[in-house]
């Protein structure tokens, strides 16, 4: 061969539709060295061609899903059991592949400083592989949140910052922020303007949530660098027309130019009423980030489960505190959220897929390597049928999960030579 830049094998995915530059187009997808390859420059510059051609059965290929908020799943709770955490992370990472999730932010709810010290250093950023989805950094949710909006967080561990000492206090509580990618705080707590500025400068995404902030407080935080809203509508003041609160950020005219406020949305059809979902989406379609906010009961069969100190009853798509009608958290999977979001909002397939791939990548400022099928980005892929059921998952160009319901296709060897 004349001038191929690399001898690594090239795979050409054929007979597929790909999500490329905000459109679903009929186009082949080329991968080499785990990255998406520009076939035109391969042809003209390197004069190379595919080593393998793979028939994709006319499926849709989307960038892999990214879950920016997940507390656990498959019986594992990231926040409650530091001793078996490594094992738990492995289990969840592996099983998320079946749901099209190729990377995620394990989420730690409000905990004690000792617990943070034990847990946070254990959750390191890792690349995905056949062993499971990659970890993009931790989402620490709390403890600097409002006692008035604790949700399921332990109230006694919440820091309401009656004696504010700013960023230093954050470091004392978390011990280290090295592995943290997203930090949820209530902007009205602590000396948030200093803290938000510092965290943003450290490259951490500051998210507003579990908060009773009014709109001006929320806008202040955004001006200081906050760029995310944690599970919109949940654990914040309800929308009021004279003070729309954090929800008002969706249509605020105080957002600095060039900055986007993203918002997490639990689109499981239970935690957010479809009408509210539509209001948010239509007001600010480019900011929606689908999150599962899933708890340990996710992926467990219907029945009674003992999860840590809590007994949970799973009934199909809902999890209750056993013996009550109280929802114990979301047990949604990312692929089901994508389907529900599309059905509930009537949005296009492109918009539904981007809400689970491009938008979280933009939020985490990694859209130059993940969340798109642009040339040069990592080949984390989900193969979907037209109803958006996951058929296959790839990480770095390698197949890491396959639905049993489709026949295995043959890799065809190079057509010429």
């Amino acid at each position: 061969m004349p001038s191929r830049a690399s001898n690594s094998p090239i795979t050409q995915f054929q007979n597929c539709r790909i999500l490329y530059k905000h459109k679903i187009i009929r186009e082949d997808l080329w991968v080499r060295d785990g990255k998406i390859l520009n076939p035109e420059s391969l042809f003209f510059v390197e004069k190379g061609y595919a080593d393998y051609k793979l028939d994709c059965n006319n499926c849709i290929i989307s960038p892999g899903f990214i879950d920016a908020q997940i507390n656990g799943a498959f019986g594992v709770d990231f926040s409650s059991d530091p001793d078996s955490l490594a094992e738990g992370l492995q289990r969840v990472s592996k099983k998320l592949l079946a749901h099209g999730v190729t990377s995620y932010c394990p989420t730690i709810i409000t905990s004690s400083p000792e617990t943070y010290r034990q847990i946070l250093p254990q959750i390191r950023r890792t690349n995905g592989s056949h062993n499971g989805a990659g970890i993009l950094g931790i989402h620490v949710e709390g403890p600097f949140i409002s006692k008035d909006k604790p949700g399921a967080h332990p109230v006694d561990l919440i820091h309401d910052c009656s004696q504010p000492s700013g960023f230093q206090q954050f470091l004392e509580v978390y011990h280290s922020l090295d592995n943290v990618a997203i930090l949820t705080l209530a902007p009205e707590s602590c000396q948030s303007s200093d803290v938000v500025t510092r965290l943003t400068r450290e490259g951490i995404v500051v998210s507003l949530g579990h908060s009773v902030a009014n709109l001006p407080q929320a806008e202040d935080a955004v001006r200081n660098g906050a760029s995310f809203i944690t599970h919109l509508f949940n654990a914040m003041l309800p929308f009021h027309h004279r003070d729309p609160g954090i929800v008002g950020l969706l249509t605020s005219d105080q957002i600095p130019p060039g900055q986007t406020v993203f918002y997490g949305m639990i689109a499981d059809g239970i935690h957010t009423n479809p009408a509210a979902l539509r209001i948010a989406y239509r007001a600010h379609p480019k900011g929606i980030v689908l999150v599962t906010d899933a708890i340990a009961a996710t992926g467990l069969p219907s029945g009674i489960h003992q999860l840590g100190s809590v007994t949970v009853q799973v009934d199909d798509d809902r999890a209750y505190v056993a013996g009550t009608q109280t929802l114990s958290g979301s047990i949604a999977t990312m692929d089901s959220c994508v389907r529900h979001f599309k059905q509930a909002t009537g949005c296009s397939t492109v918009q539904a897929l981007e809400a689970a791939s491009l938008h979280p990548a933009q939020l985490l400022k990694i859209d130059h390597i993940k969340g798109t099928l642009d040339y040069g980005t990592e080949a984390d892929l989900v193969f979907l049928d037209d109803d958006l059921n996951v058929k296959r998952t790839y990480i770095g160009g390698k197949m890491v999960w396959e639905s049993a319901s489709i026949p295995t296709e043959q890799l065809t060897s190079r057509p010429y030579l």
Partner: protein
């Protein structure tokens, strides 16, 4: 010269594609015997490329042993610019067929030494044994490739400044902004195309009617460079009805009367054998 008149653009494109298919199949190319094809870009040949892709996908036509030489490329336009002729060929043709990258040749308009690039291109054509079938389209001013009016009819591959009307016409591909249109191009010469063993020119649309008249009914002139092919031993012009508007009725009737003969050239082997069976 043959002049083949079809009803409309689609018919002309289909006919042209069938002709190319048959020429390749009859040639029966193989590892020691490549079929060499000269190729144009632009709106006119797009329909033909679409049909050739169909033939390939249906399984009846392979480009594995076909070498191609494109006519021209802009100077200084990045190769991956959507309006570059590299991009055109990739998107409209090459990526859909089984041609090998080392067999697809396009002039490099970003070469350091443009004159050398042109010499190299001529040499490559020679190395390939010359062009078996050169396909071209023309501009409304009768230019073939970028051989604008006034180009030498024995010219070889070289750099050319574009005529002002060509730049205006191409502005629609560059956001309607004339300042963004490249002002020069590398192009094969009229002589380069003349050297091909066969030349096929596709001319469609009423706006090309005057050029077709100049090409067919007037004398050879460097002001209508396509007219040079009157002196080619094997040239075929494929046009639609609209493009014949400036021709004399007599000319049109004569060539239309030959359609039965022309159509035999594009029958599939299946159709040919069916006819032979009937004769028996």
């Amino acid at each position: 010269m043959r002049l083949v008149i079809l009803d409309d653009y689609d018919e002309a494109s289909h006919w042209a594609a069938k002709y190319v298919r048959n020429r390749i199949l009859e040639f029966n190319p193989g590892p020691d015997k490549y079929f060499t094809l000269g190729l144009p870009t632009g709106g006119t040949p797009e329909g033909m490329y679409r049909k050739l892709i169909e033939f390939h996908k249906e399984g009846g036509l392979s480009f594995q042993y076909v070498k191609t030489f494109n006519m021209d490329e802009y100077v200084g336009l990045p190769r991956d610019h959507p309006e570059s002729y590299h991009s055109f060929m990739w998107n409209k043709f090459f990526k859909h067929i089984d041609i090998l990258p080392e067999n697809a040749h396009i002039l490099d308009g970003n070469a350091e030494d443009l004159d050398k690039e042109c010499e190299r291109y001529e040499e490559e054509i020679k190395q390939a044994g010359g062009v078996e079938l050169f396909i071209g389209g023309i501009g409304p001013d009768g230019h073939i490739a970028f051989n604008e009016p006034g180009s030498s009819l024995v010219s070889r591959t070289r750099i050319k400044s574009l005529a002002h009307d060509t730049i205006i016409a191409n502005a629609r591909f560059f956001d309607g902004d004339i300042s963004k249109v490249p002002t020069s191009a590398l192009t094969v010469g009229v002589g380069t195309v003349m050297d091909a063993r066969e030349v096929m020119i596709i001319i469609t649309g009423a706006h090309k009617a005057f050029a077709l008249y100049k090409a067919v009914e007037e004398g050879v002139s460097h002001m209508w460079t396509v007219s040079a092919f009157q002196q080619h031993p094997k040239a075929i012009f494929i046009c639609d009805e609209d493009a014949t508007l400036e021709l004399r009725v007599k000319t049109v009737k004569y060539f239309k009367g030959l359609m039965e003969v022309h159509d035999k050239l594009v029958q599939s082997s299946h159709e040919q054998s069916a006819k032979r069976q009937k004769l028996k």
